[in-house]
């Protein structure tokens, strides 16, 4: 399979007051198109930082990130926002739905940035909600949904604009076992049946079992677990 994500010698240093904290240390990583990769590691190991860099939410201090042949570390803030809208779907631990909007309107949010008509936006959102099994909850507000349902709405929002890949930050971290299984099954289905590339950060080894590959981060450095992905 073709390489989707190429990370070369990436470092990330945060400045906390006068102190500099290196969160990622010369990371090299390739992720193939259609992969389902789990990133694991202890707290503070840099896995969310790496996910944020891949998702274009943050910029590396050093090194390069090429996704689909484009150097995203060189993009300015505006161009990066456009790139995210076109290429990345995001799933967060706490769902991050807008509480005042219905499930349908939440899912439509990324489509506001496209040239689709209102009717087309509604239709696409309805399809996405159907895909995650929540067509009958379209008019419900997030507070009227369970945690698992909210996360499925968040997944519908992440896939509605048909991005190249999804980044999922602890998608089951706030869910009970059964809901977590449902969400992971859904992510697996998106990867297996729809060919979506998924990069998931998780603490939970059982969640990581649903991925095709798992990588461990420790103190800002990648440690290979199943023999794939890391470059020397």
């Amino acid at each position: 399979m073709a390489t989707l994500v190429e990370i070369r010698n990436v470092s990330k240093v945060y400045e906390r007051g006068r102190q500099k904290v290196e969160v990622l240390h010369h990371v090299n990583l390739d992720i193939a198109e259609g992969d389902f990769l789990a990133l694991m590691g202890p707290s503070g190991s840099g896995k969310t930082t790496l996910l944020n860099l891949i998702g274009g939410l943050d910029s590396p201090t050093d090194g390069s990130i090429t996704i689909g042949g484009q150097r995203i570390d060189r993009l300015g803030e505006g161009a990066l926002a456009k790139w995210r809208a076109a290429n990345v779907g995001f799933v967060f631990q706490f769902y991050n739905l807008l509480p005042i909007l219905s499930a349908q309107k939440n899912v439509e949010l990324p489509l506001l940035l496209t040239h689709l008509s209102a009717a087309q936006r509604r239709k696409n959102a309805a399809i996405a909600l159907e895909l995650v099994g929540l067509a009958d909850r379209a008019s419900h507000k997030p507070t009227e949904l369970s945690g698992g349902q909210q996360q499925r709405v968040a997944i519908a929002r992440a896939i509605v604009s048909d991005p190249r890949f999804l980044v999922c930050d602890e998608p089951t971290g706030d869910l009970d076992r059964q809901s977590a299984e449902d969400v992971l099954g859904l992510l697996q289905m998106l990867n297996r049946d729809h060919g979506k590339t998924l990069i998931m950060v998780t603490h939970d080894p059982r969640a990581a079992e649903h991925a095709r590959h798992t990588l461990h981060l420790d103190k800002g450095t990648l440690v290979e677990e199943q023999g794939l992905g890391i470059r020397d």
Partner: protein
């Protein structure tokens, strides 16, 4: 427009807070509308076209000082003068001192010089033929249920009759209509015969309050005004002649610089509004920082976030402000009616609305700009992490 539901959703997030903020905006713009009407009324802004085609000749020293009636013929003889009428303040009340009636003693020429007062030939004749006859505005007649032919006693608060009685009996001979561009309150007036008043009052006779001069050519106003004032130069009744609009304005200015006072009050109201609404907006955006971060995560640009927050502030100001101005539009004529013509405020016009809308947008920007900049500048990873 496709983002409008996001703006409305943000405003409906905390309904009670939005409602209270809206109420304060409504109150501020209701005050703005009312005070603006007061300012315009006192600055002569309620000018009419006819008001520039008429001159008012009053005593140079005080509006309360009368002028000799003999001056009328001399003014009429000046080239450029079409007609000369005169008017005296009567100061009447009906039955109770709180029932103030805007009443004037006038001659027939005065009515001819005022196109705002619409009379039928029959009404003119009836007024001319009836010594104690009175013409009353439609709104005034409706207010007290007066009919043509009815005897109405008015109590003058200034002029006693010869026998010392302050009550003057009148017979209503006509209920007049007003022209569409007539100043507010014109339909609340009560006109009585100057002769009846002059012969019956205990004070000086053959005195008029002021003259109203109809010009044959409005362009000649300055020349005619100078000629009229020259008639009484160096006498004990020197005059000051000006257009009716200018006269109304200078009459109002005797009460003080209302424009300045009103502007100061409006400024204080809006200053308070900016602090209040600005604080509300800041709080509303602070609570929504993670949501704004989500929007940016999904690909909304920093400028879009800035525009969303600014639109929220401007929309809130526009909704509240327009409601306030609509209320003021309704209250202004109601005040005039309720006061029996004592308070005559001009209706809110295009200029008031333009100023109001400009202020709504300006204040919206002012109160929204800091929270909007905060939303625009937020770092996604920090905001999502709650930092």
């Amino acid at each position: 427009m496709k983002y409008l539901h996001l703006v409305i959703a943000a405003l409906s997030r905390r309904k009670a807070r939005t409602l209270f903020t809206l109420v304060s905006i409504v109150a501020a713009f209701l005050l703005f509308g009312l005070l603006n009407a007061v300012r315009v009324a006192f600055s002569g802004g309620s000018e009419t076209l006819a008001g520039n085609e008429r001159l008012v000749v009053a005593s140079r020293f005080s509006i309360m000082t009368g002028l000799p009636q003999s001056l009328q013929a001399r003014i009429a003889a000046i080239p450029g003068v079409e007609a000369v009428g005169h008017q005296n303040w009567f100061g009447g009340v009906y039955q109770d001192p709180k029932n103030f009636v805007l009443s004037f003693a006038v001659d027939q020429n005065y009515l001819d010089s005022n196109p705002e007062i619409v009379l039928t030939p029959e009404q003119r004749k009836a007024f001319a033929d009836t010594r104690d006859g009175a013409l009353v505005g439609k709104a005034l007649a409706e207010r007290y249920g007066w009919k043509v032919g009815q005897q109405v006693p008015l109590i003058s608060q200034i002029f006693p009759r010869k026998d010392g009685d302050m009550t003057w009996p009148f017979t209503i001979v006509g209920i007049y209509d007003v022209a569409p561009d007539a100043p507010n309150g014109t339909d609340q007036m009560f006109f009585l015969h100057w002769k009846y008043f002059d012969e019956g009052n205990q004070y000086g006779q053959h005195e008029v309050g002021w003259y109203v001069v109809q010009l044959s050519d409005p362009a000649a106003a300055d020349r005619v005004a100078q000629a009229i004032d020259a008639l009484s130069a160096n006498s004990d009744h020197e005059t000051r002649t000006q257009t009716a609009n200018a006269f109304n304005a200078s009459f109002a200015k005797q009460l003080g610089n209302i424009g300045l006072i009103v502007s100061a009050i409006v400024a204080a109201v809006f200053f308070t509004l900016i602090l209040l609404t600005g604080n509300t907006m800041a709080q509303a955006v602070r609570e929504r920082i993670p949501e704004l971060a989500v929007l940016k995560t999904l690909g909304f640009s920093s400028r879009s976030v800035l525009a969303l927050v600014l639109a929220e502030a401007v929309l809130m100001l526009l909704v509240g402000g327009i409601i306030g101005m609509l209320l003021a539009t309704a209250v202004v004529p109601a005040l005039g009616k309720a006061s029996g013509g004592m308070i005559q405020l001009p209706a809110l016009g295009l200029r008031d609305w333009s100023e109001g809308l400009a202020l709504m947008i300006l204040i919206g920007f002012l109160v929204g700009v800091l929270p909007a900049l905060r939303g625009m500048r937020l770092r996604i990873v920090d905001a999502l992490a709650g930092r």
